[in-house]
Each structure stands twice: as C-alpha cells, then as structure tokens.
Subunit: 175 residues, 2 copies
Amino acid sequence: MSPNVPPSIEQRTIAVIVDNEPGVLARVIGLFSGRGYNIESLTVTEVDPTMRLSRITIVTSGTPMVLEQIKAQLDRLVPVHGVSDLTQEGPHVDRELALVKVAGAGEKRVESLRIADVFRARVVDSSHEHFTFEISGNSSKLNAFIELMHPLGLIDVSRTGVVAIARGPKGLRRL
Amino acid sequence: MSPNVPPSIEQRTIAVIVDNEPGVLARVIGLFSGRGYNIESLTVTEVDPTMRLSRITIVTSGTPMVLEQIKAQLDRLVPVHGVSDLTQEGPHVDRELALVKVAGAGEKRVESLRIADVFRARVVDSSHEHFTFEISGNSSKLNAFIELMHPLGLIDVSRTGVVAIARGPKGLRRL
C-alpha cells in the first residue's frame, strides 16, 4: 500500500467470552489501549453463572489489519473461550439502554413527556422537578433522544453501551 | 479489628465520569484488578459527544475500607471528572438490558413466547428455529428470565451489565 493512501478506518462490534476472573478484563483492554485504540463502548457482565463465564462486547474503530491482529491475539489468550466479530460475520441485532434525567417545569415538562412517548421511553422516577426516563434501542435512536432532551434541561445520562447478537439461530463461535 | 473477624464484603455500584481517551479505561480498571478485585459488571460509553466525556458504571464487591481507597484514588486520576458511589449516596434506579436467543420447536416455542409476555420481553429477531428477545429491568429480573429460558433451548445471551442513576432531581457530583 502506498504510504500516501491512509488505510480505511472501520467500526467493529466484537464479542468475547472469557472466564469471570480478576484481571481478565484488564488484559483484554490492554490489547486495544496498547495500540492507542480507543474503546468507543464496552460492556461486560457474567452471562452464565453456572460456568462463571462473562461476555465482553466492545465497539472500536481501526484499520482492518490491526483489528485482525487484535482478534488473533484475543483467540490466543488463555481465559478466552470465544471471539466473534459481529460486524464481519453478518447481520446482527444491536441494542443499548439509557437512563436519562431531565429537569423542566411547565411547558418543557409536558414536551419531554411528549418526546418520550414518541421514542417509547418509560418514566422510571419522577418528582415535581424532574423525570428519569428509561429508553432502549440502537445507538442512533438514543443519541437522537438525548439531543432532544438537551434544551429541555438534561441533568444526567447513564448509558450501557452496545450489546449485540447475530441474527438467525446460530450461537457465538466457541474456541 | 481482630484478625479472626473477617471484614464484611459489600457490593457497590460506582459511576465515574472520565475523558473519552485511549488508556483511561485501562487505568480505572487497574485500580480494581491491582487489588485482585473482580469487576462484576462494567459499562462504558460516551454520554456527552460535545464534551468527549464517557461514563463508566462498575459493580464490584469488597471491604468498605478498600472500596473507599479505590474511590479516593479515582478522585485523584487526572482524566476523572466525577465519582459517585450510588449504593452509598442513597436510592437509585438500576437497569440492565439483555438479548436472549432461544431455540425450540412446538410446545417449547409457545412456552418461550408465553414467558416473554409475562416479563415484557420483546421479539427482535425470529426464524422457524429461534427467537431473540430483548428484555430490560434489574439484574434479578434478567437472571430469572434467563433461567426460565435454559430448559427451552438457550442458544446465546448478551447482557449490558448495570447502569444506574440517583433517584431525585440531582445530577452526578462533579469534581
């Protein structure tokens, strides 16, 4: 490749099944941060308590070559039981959840409820001074909702980041 | 404290606002894994694209003394803009989202839809051989749903881990 042509940057959603043990997450993240790669979102929690396995979902962007290197290294880590590049392997469903706290009195209060209704967000906490909404969907839907809530008095946002699962009946590839 | 009395172990949900830069997540996680503390769940994603800030939500268990040490060290990390111990600071709302893929034919297929209806889970993908459900709620609700799906032919689970936000109109404490 000519040095004048910058390699294309791609966004990928990668799922990794690991033993739920201290230090495993740090090692997985180290493969990305060691290359200066930013993790755009990461979620990790135990999915199978009987087997003590956790699933890490990472959204990151980089050149295809480096992303393939990272995946190959993940494959070789001892506590890793499976790696899946959901972006590469075909269609998948991705979802995120957010809790969004909004202030506002009078007309603004009514407007925030109206928007929540359109986005199918649900009120999970409220007082005379605020609402907290729960909303789920893909990232762009959540971005749009949060952007609309900004001028109405956005107080606080807590987002999960992306989880994803392949379409169709197949499970995640295990090593 | 007498060496014969083991210190009590507490579970905490901690939210941290950080600069969205490579390496920050690794440093935050290092404070936990360096002490052999397991991270039960972690979510991180950008909450405010205009300010390039990410919010990390960590669920961990440990002795109150060590947890206070970790929080004090988080406070001193340069890319950290705010730390909140949601468990300590009063009532909060916590939520999680899961994508759950289930196989099953005939009666099992009907049964999985019946349970999904009770748990208000929604079908986000399906074929003649499977359903993928989206479900949100607190962790124990999700655990119960996944457990019920096991005998019906659980294929794959992807969970976000916990996000949390304080009840009432206040936002997260900023440094």
